[in-house]
């Protein structure tokens, strides 16, 4: 199917099904139950899963396959956002030109940054990409203010030309849309105590992310993907085998940069606003964490990692001291205060501390990330069922 073998087709179908059913899967708790705060099935969060998942999928093509660790991919995310918002301002609120511009412009940036950075490998490559991204971030705040609108961030206004859309018909700001479909349109279905929200924005992001996933699957299975793994494995042998590793790594860099740019474009399509903080090095570090937490070089890993980190960010940063007090109210007063104080360091603003601890645990005990964890569980279950079968041979 679609150029995939039977096993990959099945895999792809499962991923499609899971993605389309996400509004159900991430909403396991009834809306008014105490656990509802652990639900993640609302549009803003699901969109972020899809968008950062897409970015991590692209990042994995570079980092997972070639082993080149870029610390500057947030620059492409930011460039993609700026390019989209400019399209919204100049051309149309339709997301298609915006996303095309985001992908192409970030591709050009990636070509330039990759061309220079890939002259070095290892830590020097990482530092170069970090330096370039930091430069983009600083420039966006200073000299490039006419393009980026500096600290305020680039926004759409009523007086923008939008030459394809014609004169504004209402006095409120327009919203991005896919031809007739508005990105912020949503429909809520209530079933028993549950409440499920289906939004155009999420499904649009999901479809783009699925296309991105499909392309990465094809790249993984292609001769090009094999060459990228060869780069990671033994670049010297590759060069003495008549292959020029440089254009291979550059192509991987540009492709992953375009994925990041497209993700940035989607962020802008969900909320037509672009700020320089999107390019900060912490944002670059985040996609590295996502890929490692999920499983470097695996197909599903980056998506799982992105979901995991964005979910934790959301849940842990929402919990505050009063929530903690209500949880620990069964404890004696003095103890409760101490326990609450300790836990409060790890939630809300301090959720990065939790992320740090989880990252350390995963890297130490599951070097292959969440995907390895899943594999180990599956292997254990298989062993157990094999053992059961051996115990009851007659059955």
């Amino acid at each position: 199917m679609l150029g995939l073998n039977a096993k990959d087709s099945r895999f792809m179908l499962i991923v499609v099904a899971l993605t389309l059913l996400t509004p159900f899967i991430l909403n396991p708790f009834p809306a008014d139950s105490a656990l509802a705060q652990f639900n993640a099935g609302y549009p803003a969060l699901m969109q972020r899963f899809a968008i950062y998942g897409l970015m991590a999928i692209g990042f994995n093509i570079l980092f997972g396959l070639t082993g080149y660790l870029s610390f500057g991919h947030a620059a492409f995310l930011g460039v993609g956002s700026y390019a989209s918002v400019w399209m919204f301002k100049l051309l149309s609120m339709n997301v298609i030109p915006a996303l095309i511009a985001a992908t192409l412009v970030s591709g050009v940036f990636a070509l330039a940054i990759g061309y220079v950075s890939l002259r070095r490998s290892g830590i020097y490559f990482s530092i170069l990409t970090l330096a370039f991204a930091e430069m983009c971030y600083r420039l966006a705040y200073s000299v490039l203010t006419p393009i980026t609108n500096g600290e305020t961030g680039l926004q759409i206004t009523l007086s923008d030309p939008r030459i394809l859309d014609g004169a504004p018909t209402s006095s409120s700001l327009p919203t991005p849309g896919f031809f007739g479909l508005k990105m912020n349109a949503a429909h809520t279905i209530d079933i028993a105590g549950w409440s499920f929200t289906f939004s155009v924005g999420y499904y649009f992001c999901a479809v783009i992310a699925l296309i991105g996933f499909y392309l990465s699957l094809r790249i993984f299975r292609s001769p090009f993907g094999m060459m990228l793994r060869a780069v990671k494995s033994n670049q010297q042998r590759m060069n003495y085998t008549g292959l020029n590793s440089r254009p291979y790594t550059l192509a991987a860099f540009v492709i992953s940069g375009m994925y990041a740019g497209l993700a940035g474009g989607l962020l802008a399509a969900m909320d037509p606003l672009a700020g320089a903080e999107r390019m900060q090095w912490t944002a670059s570090g985040e996609v590295v964490l996502m890929t490692i937490v999920g499983g470097v070089g695996t197909l599903m890993g980056p998506v799982l990692g992105a979901g995991f980190i964005k979910y934790c960010e959301n849940i842990f940063s929402k919990i505050n001291e009063s929530v903690l007090h209500s949880w620990f109210s069964f404890l004696p007063d003095g103890v409760e205060d101490v326990v609450t104080w300790i836990f409060a360091r790890f939630v809300g603003e301090g959720w990065h501390l939790t992320l740090g601890v989880m990252f350390m645990l995963i890297v130490t005990f599951l070097p292959g990330g969440l995907v390895e964890g899943g594999k180990r569980l599956a292997a254990r279950r298989k062993k157990k069922s094999d053992a059961d079968a051996a115990k009851h041979p007659a059955e």
Partner: protein, 252 residues
């Protein structure tokens, strides 16, 4: 004129003169052995031929063209393949993938962006790689992780990767080092067979005299970075200069 002409090559590492005025001519379709004691500069010479090192002075001509200043991948595309002293393979890839990569390099050149086609659909390449693995008796290891194999198998795999490119000149740096006797003999047979089947020139560095005398048609003795003699195997055995170079080493 040989297919490979090395003239007046010098190479220094700091104060150490690794190669001093090396002249070497390898004739087409011959097996030319380069022998010499440890540290004689044999590997350094090969490095100068494949673009890993650039000689301080002198010229290296292959097939009528200079190789100096060319990148390793360009030199390989000219028709020179090299087996390294310590096996250089793609340890994270499977055995068949290791052999497929040189097939792609030969068919598609130094770079081609074939990112959407599936590897599985490359029937011609797969067949070619399998045939090569069969030739070196490794077809049973087809799907093994290359890094998990024994050193001898890694060497054989590396040889297969070079041979499958059908190079005009094959450079072998101690291809049987670390191999068991039986494997060494298999390697000799394999190289002889390749020699008979195809037009191929080989330059082989070897300490194992059994290998050298089984294969070589010409032998150059290198000592302290300078060629001492170039002779046929019959004439090299009792050569006084060779005995001198190897004094204290294994008896020739």
């Amino acid at each position: 004129m040989g297919i490979l002409e090395v003239k007046g090559v010098h190479k220094r590492f700091g104060g150490l003169q690794a190669l001093g005025n090396v002249n070497l001519s390898v004739k087409e379709n011959t097996v030319h052995a380069i022998i010499g004691p440890n540290g004689a500069g044999k590997s350094t010479l090969l490095n100068c031929l494949v673009g890993k090192l650039i000689p301080d002075s002198g010229s290296v001509m292959f097939d009528g063209q200079s190789v100096l200043g060319r990148k390793p991948h360009e030199i390989n595309q000219m028709g020179i393949s090299r087996v390294f002293q310590t096996p250089e393979i793609f340890t994270d890839l499977t055995v068949i993938e290791n052999v497929m990569i040189p097939c792609f390099a030969k068919r598609d050149g130094a770079f081609r962006l074939h990112g959407i086609e599936s590897v599985q659909d490359e029937k011609g390449i797969i067949e070619q790689a399998e045939q090569m693995l069969a030739d070196v008796n490794m077809l049973d290891k087809r799907n093994m992780h290359a890094g998990s194999m024994s050193r001898g198998d890694k060497r054989r795999l590396e040889m297969a990767m070079c041979l499958v490119q059908e190079p005009k000149l094959l450079l072998l740096d101690e291809p049987t080092a670390g191999m068991a006797r039986a494997d060494t003999n298999n390697t000799i047979d394999l190289l002889k067979e390749i020699k008979e089947k195809r037009d191929i020139t080989m330059a082989i560095i070897e300490h194992d005299m059994h290998v050298v005398f089984s294969l070589a048609e010409r032998i150059t003795v290198l000592a302290q970075g300078t060629p001492l003699v170039e002779e046929t195997p019959e004439n090299i055995k009792g050569h006084p200069k060779v005995r001198e170079a190897y004094l204290g080493e294994a008896q020739v």
